[in-house]
Symmetry: D2
Subunit: 356 residues, 4 copies
C-alpha cells in the first residue's frame, strides 16, 4: 500500500478526538484530511478551535485544517467518530449512508443488532454483521463499526482467553476509572479532589451489556450473547488516565492460578498474526508483583494498547479474582478504533465510495 | 458518675493515637493521664515527642505529659492501644496481666478465640468471652477487648442488619481505602499520586476473617463464625480519610431494595439505647442520591461514627449491590475503641485494679 | 437584641452561597428568610434547586425556602450577595436602591470610590464612605458594603499590622490557591490533576488594586490608596480549600523577625474588642514550625476566620519573607461578609427599610 | 566514536538512579556496566535490589548487573552519582582520586571553589576549574563535575540569556516543586494530599547560592559569583514531576516584554552547536498561552531537557515577572548530568584511567 487512506475525525476537538490526532500522526496507513465537531468551533482552523490538552504540541499537519460540521461530505474515505452520544446517532448514520466507513467510539450504535462491537483480538468474526447491516439499512458502500466503552474493553479482553479455555459463568467487576474517561471539562475538580465518586452515568449498564455481546458468538448471521452473568459497579477516582477493574470470575471448568496466568499472558490473536500497526505484541501482560497493575506505571504498556493483569488469586466466593488495567483513551477509545480500522484494511473491507 | 476514669494511650504518637487524644478531649467519662509509645519518643514530653498531624492544635491537657515505654505500670486504669502489630501482642498482654482494661485497636489479639472482636451495635454479647479469657489466661482483673480493622468495620456494620433480617450467604466486597489507614509516614506520595494501588498488606485476609467472627454467634462460651462466605479485594486510593466498599450480597430470604434500605436506616442497637457518648444516633445512614456516599462529603457523618450506605440496587450476579463508607480513623479505629470502652462502663465491666 | 435580623442570600446555590447558609445556621443575629439565584433554579424549593456540596446535610431551615430571582423585593432587611460578577452590578444596586443593606462578596462594586471594601479588623473607618455613597447614588436607606477577593484578604490582613508598625513600601506576593475559589463546577479535574495552573482570570489585578484600597486611609471623605507597590502572581493548586501566599515585603523602618512576629500575633482590633460573633479571638496566628502554614492543617484555624502566618525570615532581596494562609470561602468570602454585617449591626448602621 | 564509554551509576536504586538508567538505555555514547548503591541492596542483582518505579519495564541490560558498594574500583571509566548527600562526599572523592570521571548530581561538592557547577548551555567555561581541582586535590586523572539542584537549573537557565542581554540585578523566585524531587519514599502522602508544604530542607539556600555561582564568570582561574541578589521561597505541591517557579527580575538595562521573550526563545548555546545527544534543539521554549507553562503539559518538552517559560509580563514592583518550568528528574537531575558528560566527551576531557 503506497498511498495513505484519507480519514476524517468527527468530534475532533474533544479528549478522544485529540487522541485520534495524536495516534494518527505518522501513522503508516492513515492521513488526517478532514476534521469535524458538533460544538461552536465549526468554521475555525483547528488550532483556533481546539484547546490542545495532551502533553506535547498539536501536530503541525492538522493545525490549519478547518473544523467542519459533522455532516457528509467530508474530504476523506473513512471517519473516526467520537461524537457525543446526543449527536452521534444521526451523524454517523448519515456518513455511512453517504458511503463512508464509520469507525465509531460512540455508544450510539454499539448495541444495535447489525453493528459489530469489535475488539480485533476477541471477536473479529463479528464483522460478518456488516453484510446484514448493509441489507437492513440499505447502505450502499458505507458501514458502521464500533468499539466498546472504555471500561468494557479491559474486562472483555481479560475475560476472552479465560472464557475460551475454562468457560466463564459469572463475572463481578468493580471499576476505579480515570478522569479522562469523562472528557473535558468532564469531572469538576471539587467533586474528585480528596474523593471517590461511586457513580458514572450509564457505565454499569454499558459494561454489563457490551461484555455479553463482545464475548458472544455468530450464529445465523447474528450475535448470540455470551451465556454468562456480568455485574459491574463503577467508580471515578482521582487518576488522569488508566481504568482499573477488580474482577471475580466463576468458571465452568477447573483451573489453577497458573492456568489463568498462562491463558492470559500467552494469548495472541489475529491482530498479532497480521502485525497490525497498533496491535501490541502482547495483548495481555500478566505481572507477578503483589502490588500491580497500577494506573501510573502500567497504563502505557504496549504503547497504551496492552491490558495489564495482576493479583490473580483464588477467591473465597467465586473461583478466581484478579485486577485488570488499561489506558482508557488509547485501548479504551481512540486506539481501539484505529486498530479496528487497521483490521478492516487488512481484511480488505472498504467503503465503496465513488463520489470522493 | 462524678469522677472521670483515668486512661492511658499506647501508641500515642501515631496517627490513631492522635485521634484517641482528639476524641478524648472533653470526653465526659475519660481523662488522659498517661501516654506511651514504642518509638524513640520515650522520655520526652508529648509536645516534643509528637508531630501533631491533625487539623487544629494539640490539646493543652496532654502537651506536657511524658511519653513512657508501653509497659505497666502506667498511671491509669484503662489503656487504649494502637501499638504497631509487632509490639502489640507482648505489651497488651502485659497490661492485661497487670490488671488493666486493654481496649485495643491493634490486630494482635483480634482473632484469638477468647478475645471479643467488638462492635457494640453488632455483637455486644461477645463480651461473654471475657469470662473465658480470664480463666484461660489466668488474668487477675485485667482483660483485652479489640475492635475490627478499619475496613472490616464498615462492612460488618452494613451487613449486620441485613443478615439479621434476610440472612447473608455470600459477600463480595471491593474496597477503596484512604491514606490515613496506613499511618504515618505510611504510603509514599509517589506511590499514590495520579494512581491506585491494588494491594494493602494482609487487608483482604483480615476483612474476610474478622467479618465472620464479628457476625458469629455465642455458642457454648465461644464464638461460632457466621455461616457465610466473604471475599475482599482491597485498594488504596488518593483520599486522606474515609474508606469505601463496593459490596454485593447473596441473601437467604427474598427482599426488595426498599427492604434493605429500611433494614439499614432503621437499625438501632444497644449503644443507641444506652445513649453512649460516642454512639451516633443513627449507626447507618442511607442516602438516596445516585452519587453518594463519597468520602469527602460523608466521612464525618455522625461525627465520624456513622456508616453511610448508598446505591442499593439489585445485582445481576448476586442479589444486591450497594456502596458503604465510614471514617477509617474514627469509626474504623480510635472512635471504635472509645465506644467499646463506653459500653464496658455502661455494662459495669471494669478491670479490678487495686494497685493503681 | 432579641429578634434576629431577617436576611436573604443572593447566589444561594453557588459554592459561596452554600457557605453563607452553613455559617448562618444557628447564628445569633441573623435568620435566613429569603434565597435568590441567577440560574435556572428559580422557582424551586432550595433542596430541589441546589446540589449541596459541603460536608454534612443542607440545614433543615432552608430546605423548603423558594429560590427567587435576584430582584427586590425579598422578604428580608439585608442581603448577602455572592452573585456572579456578570449580574451582580445590576442586582446589588437594585437592592440598595430599594432600601436593603447589601453585603456583597462580589467584585462588582469593590473598587467604586464610594463603596467600602471592608475588613473589619483593618479599615472599619472606611464605613464613612457610606455617607458619600448615599448622596452620590441617591440611595434612600439602602447601601452596599463589599469584602475583598479571597486571595486579597489574607494578604491585606497580614500586611495591616506590619504596615502600621513598620511601614510597608513594597510587597511581592505569589499565591497557591484552592479549587473552591473558582466556584462550581469551576476548575476541570483534568486541568489540575498532577498539575499547577499559573493563571486565574483577573486575580493578579484584583490583589494588587484591592490591597492598596484596603490599606488606604480616609481623607476628605474618600479613601487615599496606600503608598506602596504591590505585585501578585497567582497560581491554582490541587487543594480543596485554603489559599496560601508566599510574601516578601520591603519596610520603611528597621525591624527584626521577632518584631514582625510580635506585631502579627499580638494584633487585635475592633471586631475582637466588640466580640463580634464571627470574629476570631486571634486574627493572625503565627506558627513557629518550619513547615507551616499548610492548607489542610491550618485553614480551619479560628473556625476559618484566622489568618495563619509562618516562616517569617529575612529576605535576600527585600527585607522579609513569610507565608500566609487563610480559608478562602470562610475568611475569604462568606465569613468575611458575615463579619462585615456583624460590624454594621454593632455600629448601628442599618438599612432604613420601611416597607419590609 | 565506535566504542561506547563504560559508565557506572552510584545511587542506582534511587529515583534519580533509575532515571539515569532509563536515559542511558540506547544512548549512543554510554553503556552502563556497573551499579552501586549505599543501601542494603548491595550484593544483589539489580532486578532484585531495586523496586523499579518508572513507567515501563526495567531495561533488560541492567537487570542482572550486581549492585556494588559505592567504592572504587568499579568496572567503568566514568561514574554518574546521585548518592545521598550523607555519603556522596566521601564516595565521590574516592572515585575521583582513583582516576574516574565523576559526574555528580549530589550537592556535596557543588559549592566547592574548585568544582564546576555546570550547565553546558550557561557556563561551560567553568570547566577551566578542573585544572585547579586537579592541582588542589592532587587528583591523578580523575575529577568531579557537578550539576545544579533540580530547582536551581530552571532558574539559572531562564536567567542566563536575560542576564547576558539586559543584566539581572535582582531575582525573586517562588517555587512549586514536584514530589519526585524528594526521592523515594520521600514525601509522605498524608503530608501532601489536599495540601501544600511551604518548606523543603536547604532548598532556598541552595537556589540562592548556586544561581550566583552558575551565572558567575571565570576570573583568575576561579569563579567570581554573579553580582546580583537572589531570593527563593520553596514549596512542595502535589505534582509527580515538574518543578515550577514564579520569577520576578530587576534588570540593569531597559527592555520590553518582547525583548525578553526573544532573548529566551532564540537562545542557543554550545550544546546545540555541538549537537550533543541530550541537548534539546531549543533550550528555552516560550509559550504565549496565558495559562502555560503547566507541569503535566510541559515537563516533557524537549524530551524533558527544555525549560518552558510563559506569562512574561511587566511587574509592578520589579521590572518583569514570568513563570518557568522544567522536568526535575531529567533536566533537573539525571539528564543534566548526562548532558554534562556528553559535553566533556565533546571537549575531549577524559579521566586518565589506566588501570581500568
Amino acid at each position: 500500500m503506497n498511498k495513505k487512506m484519507r480519514v476524517g475525525i468527527l468530534g475532533a476537538t474533544g479528549t478522544v478526538g485529540q487522541r485520534f490526532i495524536q495516534l494518527l500522526e505518522d501513522h503508516p496507513q492513515f492521513e488526517v484530511t478532514a476534521l469535524a465537531a458538533s460544538d461552536r468551533s465549526q468554521g475555525k482552523p483547528y488550532h483556533a478551535a481546539c484547546a490542545w490538552r495532551l502533553p506535547g504540541e498539536m501536530p503541525e499537519s492538522v493545525r490549519s485544517l478547518p473544523v467542519n460540521a459533522p455532516q457528509p461530505p467530508l474530504d476523506c474515505e473513512l471517519v473516526f467518530s467520537s461524537l457525543p452520544s446526543g449527536v452521534a446517532r444521526e451523524a454517523e448514520e448519515a456518513f455511512a449512508r453517504a458511503g463512508y466507513a464509520v469507525i465509531s467510539n460512540s455508544s450510539a450504535f454499539r448495541m444495535d443488532e447489525d453493528v459489530p462491537l469489535l475488539i480485533p483480538e476477541v471477536n473479529h468474526e463479528h464483522l460478518a454483521l456488516l453484510e446484514t447491516q448493509r441489507k437492513t439499512r440499505n447502505f450502499d458502500g458505507g458501514f458502521i463499526v464500533t468499539n466498546p466503552n472504555c471500561s468494557t474493553v479491559m474486562l472483555a479482553m481479560a475475560l476472552a482467553p479465560i472464557h475460551a479455555r475454562f468457560g466463564v459463568e459469572q463475572v463481578i467487576a468493580t471499576t476505579m476509572q480515570a478522569l479522562s474517561g469523562a472528557g473535558y471539562p468532564g469531572v469538576a475538580s471539587l467533586d474528585i479532589a480528596d474523593n471517590v465518586v461511586p457513580f458514572i452515568e450509564s457505565e454499569e449498564e454499558k459494561m454489563e451489556a457490551e461484555t455479553l455481546k463482545i464475548l458472544g458468538r455468530m450464529s445465523d448471521s447474528r450475535v448470540e450473547g455470551a451465556g454468562m452473568q456480568v455485574s459491574a459497579q463503577c467508580h471515578r477516582v482521582n487518576v488522569t488516565d488508566g481504568h482499573m477493574a477488580a474482577v471475580r470470575v466463576k468458571l465452568s471448568r477447573p483451573a489453577q492460578v497458573e492456568d489463568l496466568s498462562d491463558a492470559l499472558s500467552s494469548w495472541r490473536s489475529l491482530p498479532q498474526e497480521l502485525r497490525l500497526h497498533s496491535a501490541p505484541s502482547q495483548p495481555i501482560i500478566v505481572r507477578q508483583e503483589k502490588d500491580r497493575p497500577q494506573p501510573r506505571l502500567d497504563r502505557d504498556a504496549g504503547r497504551g494498547m496492552s491490558v495489564t493483569v495482576g493479583r490473580i488469586r483464588p477467591d473465597s466466593v467465586m473461583d478466581f479474582r484478579f485486577v485488570a488495567l488499561s489506558h482508557n483513551t488509547i485501548r479504551g477509545a481512540a486506539g481501539a478504533a484505529v486498530l479496528n480500522a487497521e483490521l478492516l484494511i487488512a481484511k480488505n473491507i472498504h467503503a465503496k465510495t465513488s463520489a470522493k
